[in-house]
């Protein structure tokens, strides 16, 4: 399941739905990203490229499944205006063993962060600014070769 949506999602509900669908999995990992209120952030605005988003994420999920032998992987990513404390996105992965489930989730996160067509704009009391990509995120991506 891949969902690109403006609506909120329920981590617990998705985690449980994912878990029951994973016959044969010994290991289930979830990651969720939350809007942090650092530096007086009021809200985050997420723009995306609708025609490209789903195909790009599908490629990442296919890549993660093949590379780590994942049994399944789900991705939910929101766009639009999000306030502090809201969940931005989540991934869930399953594999026979924990090492692959963890690696698959980290791989997906690194690709989503730097290669999925999303852009974040931070709104503060005194204005708004686009978030710059971080070198540290490119470094994390580079570890997958």
């Amino acid at each position: 399941m891949i969902c690109v949506q403006s609506a909120p999602f329920d981590l617990g509900d998705i985690a449980n739905r994912f878990a029951v669908a994973q016959a044969g999995a010994g290991a289930i990992v979830t990651f969720s990203g939350v809007v942090r209120g650092d530096g007086g952030l009021l809200a985050l605005e997420i723009e995306h490229y609708p025609a490209m988003t789903l195909p790009a994420i599908t490629d990442m999920v296919d890549g993660a499944r093949a590379r780590f032998g994942l049994l399944d992987a789900w991705v939910i990513h929101r766009y639009g205006r999000l306030t502090v404390g809201e969940m931005i996105m989540m991934v869930a992965t399953s594999a026979p063993h924990r090492k692959d489930a963890f690696a698959g989730a980290e791989y997906l996160m690194d690709y989503l962060k730097s290669r999925a067509p999303f852009w974040k704009k931070e709104h503060h009391r005194d204005g708004a600014a686009w978030v710059a990509a971080k070198d540290s995120d490119e470094a994390l991506l580079a570890r997958w070769g």
């Binding site: 962060k113 730097s114 852009w119 686009w130 710059a132």
Partner: protein, 82 residues
């Protein structure tokens, strides 16, 4: 006719998210040169190409990519998803 789309600060700087243009450009780089010559908004958006990423027909690629058969070229800053 080719559709050119812009996202994030490129969209804001150019003042539109989408335009249809007639072009003889054979590569992304030639298209960028053509657009930059058009007005100061495009020129400003493309001033530093190290800060610009491109997708041809929704696939990430580089500035040497041919666009003869392309329907849509997208310009945007490095992604910040997740």
């Amino acid at each position: 006719m080719i559709t050119v789309v812009y996202f994030a600060w490129l969209r804001e700087r150019i003042g539109t998210g989408r335009e249809e243009i007639e072009t003889q450009a054979k590569t992304v780089a030639q298209l960028v040169a053509e657009l930059s010559a058009q007005d100061s908004y495009h020129a400003a958006a493309f001033a530093d190409l190290r800060a610009v990423r491109v997708a041809v027909d929704q696939v990430l690629c580089d500035f040497d990519t041919p666009i003869a058969a392309a329907k849509e070229v997208a310009f945007f800053p490095p992604m910040t998803g997740g």
